[in-house]
Symmetry: C2
């Protein structure tokens, strides 16, 4: 029986998943938390074979949870669960050592397979994810790889732009010169390889910068 810990901020979802598994599936949800910080305590308290982790969580998201686990040296396989097939999330998850990645629109059979695979130390990626990864390496768009190289100041500028402020207003708000704001904006656009501000905002929102 594979023992699963669910990390998800939606109680309904977690309870649903828990109730879904029948003994014949060989999977049992033994714990659930909405708080990433609670994971170590749970792992220390009982045997967990697989962590089923939602990526989209308000405070401590799935990626941050992975970092926490890595930092503390836990080796429990993690299966990432998400609504979105965002390449940034997929990439982050892979980098942090996630064992698998599955979409919330998967079927129960797929989830069972995913958990079984990851519990055995193998990797599992939903077929839709494979397509995404394929596309990514094809286009080699830095898309949001660049998000990681954005400085705090740059992110601050992006938020201002998203709020409808123009360069002058941003300079006034942040107490810096208009020229500086322009330079920042230019650097941002270059880093993220977008040509217009609207596109920048779309990219930023898709990747959680805003």
């Amino acid at each position: 029986m594979v023992k699963v810990l669910i990390v998800d901020d939606h109680p309904l979802f977690a309870e649903g998943i828990k109730a879904m598994f029948k003994p014949e599936d060989g999977i049992e949800v033994v714990a659930h938390t909405i708080n990433g910080n609670a994971i170590p305590a749970i792992l220390d308290g009982e045997k967990i074979d697989v962590i089923l982790m939602d990526i989209d969580m308000p405070a401590l998201d799935g990626i941050a949870c992975m970092e926490l686990l890595n930092l503390k040296g836990y080796q429990t396989p993690v299966l990432m669960l998400t609504m979105h097939q965002s390449i940034k999330q997929i990439k982050s998850a892979l980098e942090k050592g996630a064992q698998g990645y599955i979409l919330k629109d998967a079927s129960k059979a797929e989830l069972v397979q995913a958990i079984t695979e990851t519990s055995n130390g193998r990797n599992y990626f939903h077929h839709k994810i494979n397509d995404q990864i394929f596309n990514y390496f094809r286009n080699k768009k830095p898309s949001m790889t660049g998000a990681q190289v954005l400085s705090e100041r740059e992110k601050e500028i992006i938020k201002c732009v998203a709020d409808g402020l123009n360069t002058k207003a941003i300079s006034a708000k942040l107490f810096i010169s208009e020229h500086t704001v322009k330079t920042h904006r230019r650097n941002i656009m270059h880093k993220l390889q977008v040509k217009t501000s609207p596109e920048l905002i779309k990219l930023a929102m898709e990747n959680g910068i805003i």
Copy 2:
């Protein structure tokens, strides 16, 4: 026993909910569909007390499903289920006659209560939703109320802008004059009461237009 039809495009979620209800809850999921167009056939085929409907669906979304049901004269109570506490969605749902509105981050107990209430012809609104409605009537911000008044063409233009196309590129893509695109953009900005395109994209993404 309250008989429930689930309309949701995520099989995992639907299966989870279905498995979650125990006999003592007095609720039974008797049908599930991912296709809104299939609802009438299901309602005609068996007795359904409550429709548990996801709002965020790709093709025919929850609001559109409600319209379909209204059009065909079905009176089955509908409990809307959603991830987002978007005032636009709430408002639309209310207008279309939804009996209740609950968030996906509700607990099982809340869902049971919500289904029970709606099956008895009463209204149910999640407490977080109440807060939203309160805020809405307080601020009376047109924010995304305006989304409803956007024409299809206008939404198309917004998507182009979000993809980084400028006015000229949009005109070429849609085979219309640059002047026309400018007029559309101006109308959009006015309707949504934003002053810059980046702000427009932020608003559009927050409200599911993109």
